[in-house]
Amino acid sequence: MIDAAVGKLAAEPALGDEREPSWWQANRELVCIPLLFVIVVGAWEALIRLAEVPPYVAPAPSAIWRSLVNGIGSGLFLSNALVTLTEALLGFAGAAVLAIALGSAIAQSRFVERVLYPYLIAIQTTPKVAIAPLFIIWFGFGITSKIIMAGIVSFFPILVNVITGLRSTDSQKIELMRSLRASRWQTFTMVKLPSAMPMIFAGLHIAVIFSILGAIVGEFVGSKKGLGNLILQMNFNLDTAGVFAALVCLSSMGITLHLIMHWLQRRVLFWADQNQIPGV
């Protein structure tokens, strides 16, 4: 009778799958993605050259490429990118720790949630970018004001998801823990927090990208270093190709962080249906 149960586990071959897919069917995305890039960049280059658009209005892709190579070669991009990355990641890490701690505390009691909720809404609906000048006054032109800015911007997406995640625990699992006479803390660490991890990860995904945004905004308002600072300087010198090259650096940074989060999620949430994790 055990064998009967085991038999059900073996995957049944799907019907109509015996035909080998053709090379084109298997690889068409791999062909079309770079192809689209080549077409867009080629059209852009041609348009700029044929229409003789001045380079300070819109640079040609070849000019952006030269700027990028020069900037990377001189170490200009790397040193500034490291500053921005440090600001974003420290802000993100601080926000993640605080949001998970505060979210957990709020989710423990309806009363606390009801009391804090109007304030959280008020803070969340205030455009955080508008507070950035204040942070310069309070924390100066250095890295601290940017870390706090990155932290504030990434704090709320995590907080909201922590609360939602902790609230949506399967009531049967909580009943199970009650039948085992588990303490509140045990129910929290063994059931509620792991159950909430898919939601928390969805929040972390949004937040890690937001943290770069926060760092850049902080640098725009007042800074000495960083990619945001570099973009302002290049813009001032009408070095449009340089601005685009800095943007390429920023988006590479964002993509890398996104991929790291994705990898981390697959490791931590190996047990969850990856398609059911929201917002990824």
Partner: protein
């Protein structure tokens, strides 16, 4: 056609006293147990009782009744998961308040934690009670062997079939070696073949472990096949309509289902429902 609650109550009041088989050595003693709910219009609705029942150590009691008769409520009251409105429940002479150590519960669905392996799920009660991990691991493996899943110890719930998951849940309920096992329609979601096998399994586990089992079902044949005694509940509010001693012997194969004696028991129970108009 269904009877109104008041008519069902008056029709099934007399047998309630028969159920009180006053037995000095009763392991579980239920007396005048009632559960009422306050409905939306603020009136009290009695869902169950009064029910009185004595259960001796080592019995296999099956509880059968139409849907909504409060069979699950009765089980949750004995499990200490919900509060009673009136009456008393004593286990080993001690009045119960809240979940008890002497009780293991198997729910309608397996309620496994998807981030824990089969073995880790079985060990959950030990983890909650902070028992020695080495000893509890040995016991967990023993219990997985008892339910025929020794070689699936390292598998995660999503790698197991529904029947296997429910076996893991049974092993988990046995982990802290409770005297009483409460099972709330544990095989309701399984297909007919798996369900038959699980019925054989649970009879074997009952015989090997010497536990006292209370098993809720809505299947009359299942109730007769499994139980040493069948508690027949009437429709809302659930009252004891009959208590049937099933003298089919300790060794029961699936063939017993077609025997004359088996038919006598199922007819007797079915008669209760038909007479009271609970079966359409």
């Amino acid at each position: 056609m269904t009877l109104s609650p008041t008519a069902a109550a008056s029709a099934s009041t007399p047998p309630a006293s028969d159920a009180r088989r006053t037995d000095a050595g009763a392991l579980i003693r239920v007396a005048g147990l009632e559960k009422s709910y306050r409905s939306r219009d603020r009136s009290l609705t009695r869902a169950l009782g009064p029910v009185s029942l004595d259960i001796t150590r080592g019995e296999f009691i099956t509880i059968v009744g139409p849907s909504g008769c409060g069979k699950s409520t009765l089980l949750k009251l004995i499990a200490g998961l919900i509060d009673r409105s009136a009456g008393s429940i004593a286990i080993g002479g001690r009045e119960i308040v809240g979940p008890q150590e002497e009780i293991g519960v198997v729910f309608q669905s397996p309620v496994l934690l998807p981030w824990r392996t089969a073995l880790e799920n079985v060990m959950l009660p030990a983890a909650v009670q902070r028992l020695d991990p080495v000893k509890s691991k040995a016991r967990g493996l023993e219990l997985l062997a008892l339910v025929g899943l020794r070689e699936f110890a390292g598998k995660y719930p999503n790698e197991l079939s529904g029947g296997m998951q429910q076996r893991v849940a049974i092993a988990r309920a046995l982990m802290h070696d409770p005297a009483v096992l409460l099972m709330d329609e544990p095989f309701g979601a399984l297909d007919a073949m798996t369900r038959e096998n699980m019925n054989l399994e649970i009879r074997r586990i009952w015989a090997e472990s010497g536990k006292t089992i209370l098993f809720v079902t809505h299947s009359i044949p299942e109730a007769v096949f499994l139980g040493t005694r069948v508690l027949v509940l009437s429709a809302r509010p659930g009252l004891v309509a009959d208590v049937v001693d099933v003298d089919l012997g300790a060794e029961r194969s699936l063939d017993i289902v077609t025997s004359d004696a088996f038919g006598v028991f199922t007819r007797r129970i079915r008669h209760h429902f038909q007479a009271k108009g609970m079966i359409e």
